[in-house]
């Protein structure tokens, strides 16, 4: 087809116009591209550069080794042991099921963990390591490692886990660690990022929980460059963390072991404190349990067993348990009266088996009465009426004040769980807490450690140490923290009249060593190791039949406190046996055995015991020796 020149010209100008229009649109769009480029690359550049860095760098934490715990002679009580587990990475494993089947032939796989691992394998990214076997033995680990070529994507892993070599002996003191729970995280403000690491262990109870900050240490950081699939390309920098601080306790592991073993199956507690330094040499509570069970994840049946046991093994009775101190409180009443100048040691009262106060009858344990009793005899024979009389004169305020001076009703801050405050009652306390006025009968009851008065075995030991030394002995559980010796608990003099103290001590001496003393059966024979002590039997409920004829739960608590040697006090001991019936029959022999162990640093010679007991003591010693922990090679001596 031919075209005329004019037609050609028209078409040409039309093309030019339209082409310029399209060109204009193109130019505008290029402008949009340029503007967008400028926006992204210049205006928003900082933000994107930050995002790129965030993309590129993965910061991971290097968990620090937890601080270890030692006893006063350096025996390891809590340590870190390698824990072995097996992980699988899906994208490296090829046929996952085939690999798992092969692995199952090498080591036994826990079906629960396997099921969990299978669901994780489906959900998580292909390069995530998923645990398929945990807490396996070294033998199993090497078996897996040796077969590595047949197990693609399977990797043996080594981490540190807590182990308590002495098991149940220290469980109430040190407690145990466990994996961080949501509850734990919720309790902590601003939690350490370490806590979010999988399998990170923190202290759950006892020293492990109270000293968590010291024991945990500081995490190191590892910055690695990762590629898009999250695989590490290279390490950029590594900052090593600080391992947790080691802690040395004042407790002696051999004495602690003896105390635990001696308390046996009783629901009981015993505390041994150094009178001169306040060092807690033993702080036992029974029954105990193996803390390693909790670290490894306790089985439901084991846990139910612990929860349902009526002897309450999970409770650390030496510091958490509070009991009416019974007659062991009589020293407090007596000292309060002496210091107030109301009576002197020579003054005596007449006990006719009971005391009538405003037509209410308060009985003495000895229904027939003690006759005329002075201070020393009242302590020796534990005459209740004598102390009723003192309380009527002295008043509860002065008695409670003396109790607090001696360490009852005040919280001793030692790093164990739920350390109890006990109670030294006052009129104000009763009004505000009980909403009733103090009546004279309350004072009468308090004078013999019944009624409202409550003390923990730790407080009773502290009281005894303070009576023995006249100083404000303060209990100390940590000897060295991170190698630094902690302040001694020797304390300043209490400012008590030495003459009064001497009378109290004399009374306590006669309790054990006088022919009519309530704890005469539990005396020590060596002249240089004589004990001074006090029995206590605190009522759980009022009853008229003999103690061993009622159900266990209704029986009286048996208590005993003592220090030794009488003329140069070294240690103070308190023993509480829940529902043990008699302080003199149940608690005193235990306290005597513990005292001898502490003073000798080993089994005492049988010559320390009254002749007729020696056969029985000998077989008991043999039995308990079998429960001693084996020597660990590092530590031999005992330093009581």
């Amino acid at each position: 087809m031919r075209k005329t020149n004019t037609e050609k010209l028209t078409s040409q100008s039309l093309i030019s116009r339209r082409a310029l229009l399209v060109g204009g649109v193109q130019a505008a769009l290029v402008g949009v591209l340029g503007a967008r480029m400028h926006y992204l690359q210049v205006q928003e550049s900082d933000q994107f550069r930050f995002l790129a860095e965030e993309n590129r760098i993965k910061v991971s934490l290097i968990p620090p080794a937890r601080g270890e715990v030692f006893d006063r002679v350096g025996r390891s009580l809590a340590q870190n042991v390698p824990s072995y587990r097996i992980t699988i990475t899906r994208e490296n494993a090829g046929d996952v099921e085939e690999t798992l089947a092969r692995l199952g032939k090498l080591i036994s796989l826990d079906p629960n963990l396997l099921q969990e691992a299978r669901s994780q394998l489906e959900k998580r990214r292909g390069d995530t390591q998923i645990t398929i076997a945990d807490k396996i033995s070294w033998q199993e680990l090497t078996r897996v490692a040796a077969n590595a070529p047949a197990l693609p994507g399977v990797e043996p892993q080594v981490a540190l886990s807590r182990h308590y070599p002495l098991g149940a002996d220290f469980t109430h003191v040190i407690g145990y660690v466990g994996p961080v729970s949501d509850y734990d995280l919720g309790r902590i403000e601003n939690p350490d990022p370490l806590l979010t690491l999988p399998r990170f262990q923190i202290g759950k109870t006892g020293l492990e929980a109270r000293q968590e900050e010291d024991l945990r240490g500081k995490a190191g950081t590892l910055r690695v460059e990762v590629n898009a699939s999250g695989r590490e390309v290279r390490e950029l920098s590594r900052v090593e963390g600080n391992p947790g601080a080691d802690i040395q306790l004042t407790v002696d592991h051999m004495l602690q072991n003896y105390c635990q073993a001696r308390l046996g199956e009783e629901s009981a507690a015993a505390v041994v404190i150094d009178c001169n330094t306040g060092d807690l040499l033993a702080i036992a509570s029974s029954p105990a349990f193996d803390p390693n069970l909790f670290v490894n994840g306790i089985s439901v049946s084991d846990y139910t067993g612990l929860i349902e046991d009526d002897h309450r093994p999970l409770v650390s009775k030496s510091v958490q348990g509070t009991y009416p101190p019974g007659s062991t409180f009589k020293m407090v009443t007596a000292l309060a009266a002496l210091e107030a100048g109301i009576v002197s040691a020579e003054d005596s009262f007449r006990c006719k088996g009971h005391l009538e106060v405003y037509s209410q009858k308060f009985g003495c344990w000895k229904r027939s009465g003690h006759g005329n009793v002075g201070l020393v005899r009242a302590l020796r024979e534990s005459c209740d009426v004598y102390f009723y009389e003192l309380a009527l004169e002295t008043g509860i305020e002065r008695i409670s004040q003396m109790a607090r001076r001696l360490g009852i009703g005040v919280r001793h801050d030692i790093p164990m769980s739920a350390v109890a405050q006990g109670l030294a009652p006052t009129k104000d306390w009763k009004r505000s807490v009980r909403g009733a006025d103090w009546v004279i009968g309350d004072s009468v009851n308090a004078s013999i450690g019944q009624g409202f008065v409550l003390a923990s075995p730790l407080q009773l030991a502290v009281m005894t140490a303070r009576l023995a030394t006249g100083r404000e002995v303060t209990p100390r559980l940590i000897k060295r923290l991170n190698g630094i010796e902690q302040p001694s608990g020797a304390g300043a003099p209490l400012g008590l009249n030495e003459n009064h103290l001497r009378q109290i001590r004399r009374g306590m001496y006669e309790v054990v060593n006088h022919s009519s003393g309530t704890a005469r059966a539990s005396r020590i024979l060596s002249k240089d190791k004589l004990m001074a002590g006090k029995t206590g039997t605190s009522q759980v409920i009022s009853r008229r039949v003999k103690c061993d004829e009622v159900p266990w739960r209704q029986r009286d608590h048996a208590l005993f406190v003592n220090y030794a040697p009488y003329d140069a006090p070294q240690i103070a001991v308190s023993v509480v046996v829940e529902h043990g019936c008699g302080g003199s029959t149940t608690a005193a022999p235990i306290a005597r055995d513990i005292t001898l162990q502490a003073l000798y640093g080993d089994d005492p010679p049988l010559s320390e015991y009254p002749e007729r007991d020696r056969g029985r003591i000998d077989s008991q010693q043999r039995k308990l020796r079998a429960l001693r922990p084996p020597a660990d090679g590092n530590t031999t001596g005992r330093g009581a």
């Binding site: 769009l29 480029m37 993309n55 590129r56």
Partner: protein, 379 residues
Amino acid sequence: MSYLEYNVKYVPTGPRKLLYLNWPLTLLLVAVASIGFLMLYSVAGGSIERWAQPQMKRFAVGFLAMIFVAMVPIWFWRNVSALAYGVSLILLLAVELFGEVGMGAQRWINLGFMRLQPSELMKITLVMFLAAYYDWLPLKKISHPLWVAIPVLLILVPTLLVLRQPDLGTAILLLTGGGALMFMAGVHWAYFAAVITAAIGLVAAVFQSRGTSWQLLKDYQFRRIDTFLDPAADPLKAGYHITQSKIALGSGGWTGRGFMQGTQSRLNFLPEKHTDFIFTTLSEEFGFIGAAALLLLYTLVIVFCVASALSNTNRYGSLLTLGVTVAFFLFFFVNMAMVMGLIPVVGVPLPLVSYGGSAMLVLMVAFGLVQSAHVHKPR
């Protein structure tokens, strides 16, 4: 149509034709391709063998093809336009029937010595045939409905075939490029207004169709649109491409992180970093200056092509040049807009820079046609 019909005063012959090539355009193409070599070297982590060398070989082949096409008189190309279009259409149909499936889409046809993408070929031959059509059509009939319906069919048939593969990016290019050529040829503007209105209606229909039995787009295409509208909603899956590419671009700043220093591309955060997303690597490593420089080079290519078209009184040569220009523009615009998060992710390579054989070859042949029109334009 004979040589004399053009009423030309002077047309170079023989080797002299080389002197009349559009040399600024030629140099610009070499410059753009060289940027591509550099970036392919960088994203391969400093390996020349991996992508840069094969790309250089292809560019060399493409360059020779361009010169060859440029030497052939433009009227020859005009006369084979219909044939070329027909062959492309048959190849597209062949792909539909026997094509290999790669990357989840039927796009390739295996010729034995090379794997050909007929949709690439169609981008050029459609422009050729439309230009020839409007060269042949008298100006009076140009806006007559019947004579408008024919080119519309010529555009829609390959577009629908490509869409079936599915290759949304190429379909859009064919549709927009063809439409632009019709517009420049002088079809009445009312048609375009009507089509744009209809297009808006269609988009509405597409969204309406979602989840019904007559769904018009594949699920992954819908997801890409969703992702485009809100990339943050799914940053690890579909939104990943856009998010990572914006991070790479943005972190470049004014001057970039330096050659081979881009962490986003080096550490594989970028998807398809050597093909569709190569622009992000350039932007990350050379910053705003580098990215703007490439944009400037592309713009200059357009400017020289449009200048050549406007100075060409041969209607076929002029329309062909403009058509190739619009296609070229759409290539780089869609790619850059995509990686910068302005439009949804559609699989369109960055012209002359992205790694890829048939796209490069087809584009060089297209510029060969532009050169031929330039060399043989009436003077």
